[in-house]
Every structure is written in structure tokens, then in C-alpha cells.
Amino acid sequence: MGRLNVTLCGIELDNPVIPASGTFGFGYEFADYYDINELGTFSFKGTTALPRFGNPTPRIAETPSGMLNAVGLQNPGVDRVIAEELPKMKRVFSKPVMTNVSGFSVGEYVEVVEKLDGEEAVGWFEVNISCPNVHGGGMSFGTDPKAAAEVTRAVRKATKKPIILKLSPNVTDVTEIARAVESAGADGVSLINTLLGMRIDLARKRPLLANTTGGLSGPAVFPVALRMVYQTAKAVKIPVVGMGGVGRAEDVIEMMLAGATAVEVGAANLVDPYACRDIIRDLPGVMDKYGIENLQDIIGGAIQ
């Protein structure tokens, strides 16, 4: 194994850097900018059973050191993802992909997972129970341990592939949800999804986002995300994928020291399309600087 390699739920990654769902489409558009096979993997655009337009615009607002989004799971639906998006993805990406799925009922999660399960490109399922921008689904599963466990059990029966539950930070105790999904059969957890926030347009004296609220991401959330990754890594035995405000190689190493096995990068891709490529290229130099031989060895190294 190389210095950057890590193993996530039994699948080896060339490096721990993973563009986060919703910031990287189905990958092929970034392949115009660089060879996306340089990535560990990427988490593709959250897929639901039916096509979704998402929320009205404006869907984006800037914040100090970050941004709000209320896209609302725009995607073409699982059938078109399989028929149109995955073939385009496979032309430019040859590694197992992290397959992000969402739903508005337990049955919908199962339906989407069952349809995608036969796709050879699918490495892991990342089960999003934490989208703050949709109503009647999404985050409501991720803020209640019983509902989170129910989704996990149902998805567990639908696939033998690793399932990673994507958790919401909008809870009092994230470790309670993490333990619930671990007990229900999750192979891993990823966190944090975005933090619920809002801005007001002073000129109109109305919420800036058409959805009123949105999810905060970017460097502003990094310390919160790091704390939650640390707490979760202490609380569960399954791997933790850390994310939230990661923008540089140093952040990746902090996340791993806090207990992350791999690290997702979200908002940074939207500011700089080369962000993940540059983080991966910078990692060896930063590891040298801090006397780190292999990344796999530092996972959870700061936990006390």
C-alpha cells in the first residue's frame, strides 16, 4: 500500500479524498478539467426514485467563510441516472463510486438502492438521511434514532454492498444517531451534512433563499464538523467518513486524526474545480512536514 492509501469498508482507496455529493455531479464534467481517477472516489449527485427539479431559485447565498445552499436534491431520478448518467461517468471514471441515495419514505430508499445494486460501478451506498432542504423526508430520518435505524435496516436487506449513513449535524447528540445506525447494520457513517442556516436580503427585507433556509457549508463549519467526527469516531466501531469545510491537505489530516477513515470535500469544489486534485497533490508534502509516514496509521490518532 502507498502512503496515501486507506481502506474504507473493505474497499481500498488510492487516497482518502472524496468529492462530496452535490458538488461534483456525476463526475464527467470535472473530467474536462483533470483526470478524476486521481481521486480516491467521489460521491455522486443524490439520487431519488423520481426525477426532482429541486427548490425554486435563489438556491445559493454567500456567508462569511462559506455558503448556504437549498438546491433540494435536483436529480433526474434513478432510472435516468442508470440509463444516462452512469454510462457517461464510466467513460471517465474506472474506480468504484460512492453512490448517494435519498428518499422520502423507507420504501423509496429501498427502491433506489435495489435498482442501483446491480451496477458494477457501485462501490458503497451513501444513504443520505440528512438533507436539510427537502420536506417530509431527508433530514427527518436523520434526526430521530428510531427512524434512522429503520432506514438502515431496510437498506441493509436490499444490498450486500457497504452502506454508509450520511448524518445530520442538526441534532443535539450526533453519537446517538450514529450508534443507532451502527446497531441496525450500517458499515460506516459519514458526517457532517450541512448545518441549517439562513440569510436575509436587506434590500427586500425577505429571506435571501427562496426556500427560506438552507444548508451551511464551507470553512465556517470545519471546527463543528471536526468536533462531531471526533465524538462519533469515539462512539462507534464502524468507519467514519469526515466532511464539512475541508479545503486543504491540512484539513484532511486533521479530520483523519479526529477519527475519519476517509474525507469528503464539498463546497471547495464549487469555488475551485481543481480543489480535490490539488489537495491530493499537496498531501505528501504536508505529511512530510508533520512526520506522517502513512495516512492509514493516523486515523483517530488524536483521540484521547
Binding site: 478539467y33 467563510s65 445552499n69
Partner: protein, 245 residues
């Protein structure tokens, strides 16, 4: 799309709140009028999308209105300031469809992208008429620049303090044109769409996250399905437009 560093050459006021910035650098990815660039400003997380007003060799002209903290910071950028830019974003206008007498209609800071378009159409031997709409006389800019290109120029102001009084649509009567190119506030685009039946291309504005198609922040519904204003836009053909209520 290309990521590149552009250097500020000039950054001067055109009116009280509108400024003209000239930058130099590698503009090889800027291929069509109507495209935009996305600027990384110091201290701001998201980039600022600004439409291309003109490209002349390695010189890029941007015209922007100071409306918020980002553009206010941009106004202070002096000669030699280097800006990390994504250039060549968006589809831009297609000049092949114009016929021999295209009409260009711009409103406020929707005027700038029509400048390079006018220049291109005139170089292609077309007879260009431009209606430039503003609120008041002190907001008017680029009238002479369009005239110098060889375009027939009509300026309208809402309060009548300069040029023809009224909206851009009040200036349509009696004009002879083959096709419409427009950019401006959405109410203006909608009024123009209703006031003419000729085919054309309409450039839209949306708040954007990334500007290159990754975040789905600027999606709109069209006759031809969902389109990202930053990627399949900002220019939509008349027949594609679905007006939202």
C-alpha cells in the same frame, strides 16, 4: 472553461455606481460574446460572475455595478492587481442566426455583453440596431462606444431625462429588424418577449454557486427540460423560455 490569473490594467467609473475594469491575460477559453467570467475576490468565499463586455486580443473588459460587499471590494482593485478567474463560462450568443439586421436590446448592466456581440455582428457585415435602456440620464453609459462600432443606437430612460422616454419596448415601433438579442433584468426580458414575435436569444441572470455546472444552484425550467443558467445558459433561445410566475 479555464482557470487563469488575470491582471487588472484599468478600473474606472463609468457612472455613479457602474465601473469598467480592463484585465489582461490568457483569454483563449473566451470564445463567444455573452459568456461570463467568475472572479475570486480576496476575503469572499464564492466567486463573482461578471459578463464579458469585450475581448480584444489578451485584453478583457468587464462592466459591473457596485451593489454589495464583493463589488465594493472590486471597485478598489488597482492596476497590477492579480485576480484568480474562471474564464469562458456559459454558452454565449450564437451570431449565425441573426439575419442581416439584428436588434440588440440591453437594460442597465445588461448592456455590456451586447457590446462585443455588436462588434462581432458588425464584423460579420450585419446592420446592427441597439436599444440601450436605463432609468435616468446619469446611469447612461456606452452610447458612444456602440455608435463608434457602427451600430444605430437608441437610448431610452424611464424618467425621460435622456434619449427617448420610457422602457426599451417603447422604442420598438417603426424599427426594421430580423432577430433579437437581449440581456437585462427579467421583467425587461419578459416585456420584450411579449412586445415582439421575432425569434431571438435572451440572456438570463441567476445567483450562482460555482458558475460551471457543478452545484445546480442556478437551474431553471425550460421547454427543453431543466437547464443550468451557468452552463446551458445564460443565453436561452426564445423558443426554450418558460416564464416562471
Amino acid at each position: 472553461m479555464k482557470q487563469t490569473v488575470l491582471t487588472v490594467q484599468k478600473n474606472l467609473p463609468l457612472t455613479g455606481s457602474v465601473r469598467e475594469m480592463t484585465l489582461s491575460g490568457d483569454l483563449s477559453a473566451v470564445t463567444r460574446p455573452g459568456q461570463f467570467v467568475n472572479l475570486k475576490l480576496d476575503g469572499f468565499y464564492l466567486r463573482r460572475p461578471i459578463s464579458v463586455c469585450d475581448k480584444d486580443g489578451d485584453a478583457l473588459t468587464l462592466i459591473y455595478k457596485v451593489v454589495g460587499d464583493g463589488t465594493r471590494a472590486m471597485a478598489d482593485y488597482g492596476q497590477g492587481k492579480e485576480i484568480d478567474c474562471l474564464v469562458g463560462l456559459g454558452n454565449g450568443y450564437d451570431t449565425a442566426l441573426s439575419g442581416d439586421a439584428p436588434l440588440l436590446v440591453g437594460g442597465g448592466v445588461g448592456v455590456p455583453p451586447l457590446y462585443w456581440l455588436a462588434k462581432t455582428l458588425i464584423a460579420e457585415g450585419k446592420r446592427v440596431t441597439a436599444i440601450l435602456g436605463f432609468n435616468t440620464a446619469d446611469e447612461v453609459f456606452y452610447e458612444n462606444e456602440f455608435r463608434t462600432l457602427g451600430a444605430k443606437v437608441i437610448v431610452t430612460t424611464v424618467d425621460g431625462s435622456y434619449g427617448q422616454k420610457g422602457f426599451v419596448t417603447n422604442a420598438l415601433a417603426g424599427l426594421d429588424y430580423t432577430y433579437v438579442y437581449t440581456c437585462g433584468p427579467e421583467p425587461m426580458l419578459r416585456a420584450l418577449y411579449r412586445a415582439t414575435t421575432l425569434d431571438g436569444q435572451y440572456s438570463f441572470e441567476r445567483r450562482m454557486g460555482c458558475g460551471f455546472g457543478a452545484c445546480m444552484g442556478c437551474t431553471c425550467k425550460t421547454v427543453a427540460g431543466n437547464k443550468r443558467i451557468c452552463r446551458e445558459g445564460p443565453v436561452l433561445k426564445r423558443g426554450e423560455i418558460l416564464w416562471e410566475d
